[in-house]
Amino acid sequence: MAAWDVLRNAWFLLIGVLLAGYSLLDGFDLGVGALLPFLAKTEDEKRWLIAAVGPVWDGNEVWLLAGGGALFAAFPLAYATVFSGFYLALMLVLFALILRAVSLEFRAHDTARRGLWEAAFVGGSVVPALVFGVALGNVVVGVPIDAAGEFAGSFFTLLRPLPLVFGLLGLCAFLTHGAAYAAVKTSGELRERARRTARTMAVAFGAAFVLSVVMVWIYLPAALGKIVAWIFAAVVCLALVLFLAALKKGRDGRTFALSSAAFLGLWGIVGAIQYPNLVRASDPALSLTVRTASSSALTLKVMLLIALVGMPLVIGYTIYAYRVFKGKADAGGAGY
């Protein structure tokens, strides 16, 4: 029994790692996508930004598939409840991700409908960046769940104040991260614009963060007693302050690292508040926890083996690919 619990906790952590990895990597290309019309003024600048994410966005998005697959395998009951319960919201995300996946390739080659595919890229980036936070806010603040473990709310249950503010916070974090990445990969006027945007977004990030803490205080006061959450909150604040300082000095690499750190801090807070719940129920006795929602010990063990063999390889060749495309992106937009 004890070994099973260790495995369950390991998977709680690992799914957090996969989702955090997703937000760090796909986070910047979602941010660049959402900011495209604000950062780029000319077709050349658009191509430049697109070239900065073109070779890597697809690999980044796989982190979401890995996280989703791992949730299915490790905690099938949570996967089933959330994905069927949040049906319409997640369909919205799926439509956005479908359009986004084809948008860059199609924008480059289907010139007659370039505007449509560009809108698909921008919209397909904004929608997930917003909805992920709303969905996470819901499982954190708690949703109505019946005795069978089924979601007992409606679409409008999802649109409560705390989840909406979490959505806003997530969006700000993605935009900050995307702007920081754009500054790393470009130069000149475009880079300056990215840096100005990054500053605005980081300030908005801070404001949304304070608002989120207020929301937690109102709707989930018990969470204020978690010391670890406060430590991660301090990490977020510190990272944001250092982010602004590094931005001022023009240290693009460091600003990107700091927006990553702020993102990790957010995940730390969520993990600390949430453990051992995966989906908090309005009636705490019905919450789906690492214990009540997990797969068997054997499945968790096999999955752990898969992760321990597979993820170091993934991280290794992902680093290789980023090194191949390191430095400023090709301003000519070679590739598409």
Partner: protein, 445 residues
């Protein structure tokens, strides 16, 4: 319309549309590895430019596969929550493993193939091609492990209404995994190779890029013919496996209403399920028994052996199975004819053959789809054979209206990206293999 039907329709639409792309990727990635390896050995620019040409096409095919594949990763939770709860202990793991071992590999190294020709050495580039090939095939392996477990579940026990994993090995390599894996990848190789042959044929008919077209035709023809011939063996082995492990499915494939010693093979017919007979049947006596038992009097179980509520529908599996076999046989003939024309050195001038190649491309896709339809409809009424009924596998909390709404949107979205994607692929093909510095796609915005 009830939720079960709509959920099935939605899964059928999303998986069926998705299944246009991965088989193409399997075949094209194999050809790219072959062409890149030739380039590495000979340093002949013809290979380099052909590889760039195929990579461009693969790039478009791949993003469409990604776009339509995301839906499937989450579909089990969205529409099939009861399924996910009941068998998640076993079914989730291969999906997660597919992401970890395949999707990352494919995505990261396809990025290098499409964007990195001038950023990595020729050897690293070829290695990237090999890794994309490997990723695509591993992906097929994982998803077929998952799907085969639904067909012939093994390595588990039932505990409190949930399937619990007992043996990883038995669950992964259940009785149908290996044969279905080979059957599927051979279908992919045939498809990708036929697409490449058709491109070469089109260039030949137009009199464009003669040398490159000849090289492309040679390479893809060999892969096509070999895959089509090997498919005969894998298809046969698969049919024997189905007869042994899912006899009612084979009975549906063959519209065999009653158990028979010395069962015939039905070449053509229209199954009339209500009256349990086959109209306009053309049968070869004893051939089914010969094929699956290697003896003319072997006993083949008919649908009458099974309770009515455990029988699959007959019409779709029968039609799908026979159409697939018919196309398979045509491809073997086409492959052999191509090799014969090549030996005579008249292939480039055989306009009739080249046109045949061009016009039969949709048949490769039809064969993949009909084979898949036969396999999945033939599994009904079970989501997991003899473990969980499809009707008990759906999400209890998702109203039919929501499924219909998303179904309509998926259909519209797929129509849009399907036509746009096909347009782009055709335009890329019409552009021909370039003479420019291969791998750099400039001036195409």
């Amino acid at each position: 319309m009830d939720a079960v039907f709509l959920a099935r329709l939605q899964f059928g639409l999303t998986a069926g549309f998705h299944f246009l792309f991965p088989p193409t990727t399997l075949g094209l990635s194999l050809l790219i590895v072959i062409v890149e390896s030739r380039y590495l050995r000979t340093k002949n620019e013809v290979y380099k430019s052909l590889s760039a040409y195929l990579v461009k096409i693969l790039g478009t095919v791949f993003v469409m596969g990604v776009a339509t594949g995301i839906v499937l990763e989450f579909a089990f939770g969205n529409n099939w929550a009861a399924y996910s709860r009941t068998v998640g202990d076993i079914f989730g793991a291969p999906l997660a493993a597919e992401a970890v071992f395949s999707f990352f590999l494919e995505s990261v190294f396809l990025g290098i193939l499409v964007f990195g020709r001038n950023k990595v050495s020729a050897k690293s580039y070829r290695l990237s091609a090999v890794l994309v090939f490997l990723g695509a095939h591993l992906s097929a392996l994982w998803i077929i492990i998952a799907n085969s477990w639904m067909q012939t579940p093994a390595g588990f026990r039932m505990e409190g209404g949930r399937a619990v994993l007992d043996s990883v090995w038995k669950a992964a390599f259940n009785p149908s995994t290996v044969v279905r894996f080979f059957h599927t990848i051979l279908g992919g190789w045939t498809t990708g190779a036929l697409v490449a042959m058709a491109i070469a044929a089109w260039l030949m008919l137009k009199g464009q890029a003669a040398e490159k077209a000849a090289v492309l035709m040679r390479t893809s023809l060999v892969v096509f013919a070999a895959s089509a011939i090997l498919q005969l063996g894998s298809g046969h082995a698969h049919s024997i496996q189905v007869t042994r492990t899912q006899p009612e499915k084979m009975a549906a494939f063959e519209a065999l209403w009653k158990t028979m010693d010395g069962a015939p093979f039905t070449v053509f017919g229209i199954p009339d399920e209500k009256n349990e007979r086959t109209l306009l049947a053309v049968r070869v006596p004893r051939m089914l028994s010969m094929l699956v038992h290697f003896t003319p009097n072997g006993k083949v179980l008919g649908l009458d052996e099974f309770p009515r509520n455990e029988r699959p529908p007959v019409l779709l599996p029968f039609a799908g199975y026979h159409l697939m076999i018919l196309i398979g046989v045509l491809f073997i003939v086409m492959g052999l004819a191509g090799l014969w024309l090549r030996a005579k050195k008249t292939l480039e001038r055989s306009r009739g053959y080249l046109k045949l190649v061009l016009w039969t491309v949709p048949l490769a896709y039809l064969a993949n789809e009909t084979g898949w339809i036969a396999a999945e409809v033939g599994r009904q009424p079970w989501a997991v054979y003899k473990v969980l009924r499809t009707s008990e596998a759906v999400s209890a909390v998702v109203p039919a209206g929501n499924i219909l709404f998303s179904l309509v949107l998926f259909a519209a979205l797929y129509a849009l990206i399907g036509t746009a994607g096909l347009g782009i692929i055709l335009r890329t093909i019409r552009g021909g293999p370039g003479d420019e510095e291969a791998g750099v796609r400039k001036g195409e915005f």
